[in-house]
């Protein structure tokens, strides 16, 4: 899922200073699991805005904010309150925020959250980055994503900086390649892996902005 974090109140305050009336849009998917786009988050934002003397004309939690047409249908039910708002505050990831920007070209659309990474949830509201959407998955070889979990994205084994199996960049973490090496040993893949060399990685697959047409199986990088 996409991990988001609420911006600091002072930051939001600086963005909305010149506006009086607001419509709030959350998202029931990732942002809800992060606690940054659910009903509770919307209510807290609403209370704070009202305490600052602002008007909240209405709110909705979009089912999937990044699904542009679905969100358009849901928002159409709130036509009046949306029209009355000078500004829309979006409690989702950056993708969801831009759905709203596209749907309401005449309104000011402001994100309430910062978008952090694609994450796994370990415990409730505890997230870890495991995949960075690099466009070419090596997990079949390495077991864990060394492109993401190694801060140097090493493709061919650890650097020389680990100590007692811990990463030089963050000693709280195990070296991603020490973990990957263990996995490869268990799968009896080590010797085969080192017969060759992995890479150089085709980073063009990660160039932004990417589009993908699943119907035509067509990826385009512009």
């Amino acid at each position: 899922m996409i991990i988001t974090k609420s911006k600091k109140q002072e930051k939001i305050a600086s963005y909305i200073e010149r506006y009086k009336s607001f419509f709030l849009i959350g998202c029931s998917e990732c942002a809800s699991l992060c606690g940054t786009g659910d009903e509770e988050a919307i209510k807290q934002l609403k209370e704070w805005l009202e305490s600052e003397g602002k008007d909240v004309t209405g709110w909705l939690v979009a089912k999937t904010g990044c699904q542009i047409l679905g969100t358009k249908r849901e928002a159409s039910k709130y036509k009046d309150s949306l029209e009355r708002a000078e500004c829309i505050l979006v409690l989702s990831c950056g993708a969801g925020t831009q759905s709203i920007t596209e749907l309401f070209p005449d309104k000011t659309v402001i994100p309430v959250n910062d978008t952090l990474f694609i994450g796994n949830m370990r415990r409730f509201k505890e997230f870890e980055e495991r995949c960075r959407a690099c466009g070419e998955c090596f997990l079949a070889i390495t077991g864990i994503c060394v492109v993401t979990l190694c801060p140097k994205s090493m493709l061919n084994g650890p650097c020389g900086g680990y100590k007692d199996g811990r990463c030089e960049v963050n000693p709280d973490r195990r070296c991603a390649w020490v973990i990957a090496f263990d996995i490869m040993q268990k799968r009896e893949l080590v010797d085969r892996f080192y017969e060759d060399i992995l890479g150089p990685k085709d980073w063009s697959k990660a160039n932004s902005p990417r589009i993908y047409n699943a119907k035509e199986k067509k990826t385009d990088v512009t």
């Binding site: 140097k152 090493m154 493709l155 061919n156 650097c159 020389g160 100590k163 030089e168 060399i197 150089p200």
Partner: protein
């Protein structure tokens, strides 16, 4: 005789290390090089070590060449993508630089530009492969160059790390990719070096051991805690903690000297690389200790 010839002939080499200046003034650099060239076979210029921004290694190499002191161009993968790496290498070659020591490089988090985007487009094994392709007259994508480079190519290895197995596999991979010599991370524990050399011997490569002189307690703490990949045995840490700084300095030279002598007597490695952090006097002290 060049470093390449000395190593290949089996002559024991002494190399030293200089970190290029933080700023445009090269007066001190030139002074140090003029003194060091009488003491060592070659000088490595570090590539923004610990991700601290400095003058580029390439320019320092050229200055050294002009002074008649053979340089080793250290190149890390942290700050350049494959285009910039190849471009710099071709430029270095045109300027007469032949010795390259490649490494992945410390992460920007250690340096004075922590907000910088880490590049790490390719890792050091791939960089070795890349340089060998340049030596064959091709770029990394197989495009033909208008000639071949003649780089003498070194790689790094860290015999201190635990677990050692993944490090040994990388060492083998670097050899397979065409590394012609190796330089180790700083050695404080001769047994770990012996353990590694026992493994390395069967590959018939040249290994230069990294040696450092601990100057004072502050430096000890810095090396032990802030330099990736450096492992100092607790016995040495405890011993130094009970000394005053004057004694530490003497002990530092004795320790580095005795490790070096051990390496020479046992025929463990093919040279030592003295990391004196650009301090000429310390290089002299160590060499005097060894000779006496």
């Amino acid at each position: 005789m060049l470093l390449r010839e000395k190593l290949l002939k089996g002559e024991f080499v002494f190399t030293v290390e200089i970190t290029p200046p933080k700023g445009p003034d090269v007066t001190k650099l030139i002074n140090k090089l003029s003194q060091l060239k009488e003491l060592a076979d070659a000088v490595n210029f570090t590539d923004n070590p610990s991700a601290m921004m400095r003058m580029c290694s390439l320019a320092a190499c050229k200055i050294s060449l002009e002074l008649g002191f053979e340089p080793v161009f250290q190149m890390a993968c942290r700050d350049r993508n494959r285009i910039a790496i190849q471009s710099d290498l071709l430029g270095a070659h045109a300027l007469g630089i032949r010795n390259i020591l490649v490494m992945t490089g410390d992460h920007p988090i250690w340096g004075d530009h922590k907000e910088a985007k880490p590049v790490f487009d390719i890792d050091s094994s791939l960089l070795i492969k890349l340089i060998n392709k340049l030596n064959d007259g091709f770029d990394i994508n197989g495009n033909k160059l208008n000639g071949r480079t003649e780089f003498f190519l070194g790689a790094t290895v860290n015999p201190n790390v635990e677990p050692l197995a993944p490090q040994l596999k990388r060492f083998e991979q670097k050899l397979k990719m065409g590394a012609q010599f190796f330089q180790t991370q700083m050695i404080f524990d001769i047994e770990k070096l012996e353990r590694f050399m026992e493994y390395a011997e069967k590959f018939n490569t040249k290994v230069i051991a990294g040696i450092v002189m601990i100057r004072n307690k502050k430096m000890l703490h810095h090396l032990a805690n802030n330099v990736p990949g450096v492992v100092i045995p607790n016995a040495i840490i405890n011993k130094i903690e009970n000394m005053n700084d004057e004694d530490v300095k003497i002990f530092g030279i004795e320790l580095a000297g005795s490790i070096t002598l051990d390496i020479i007597r046992k025929g463990l490695c093919h040279g030592v690389h003295i990391m004196a952090f650009s301090n000429v006097e310390e290089v002299e002290n160590l060499l005097n200790y060894i000779r006496n």
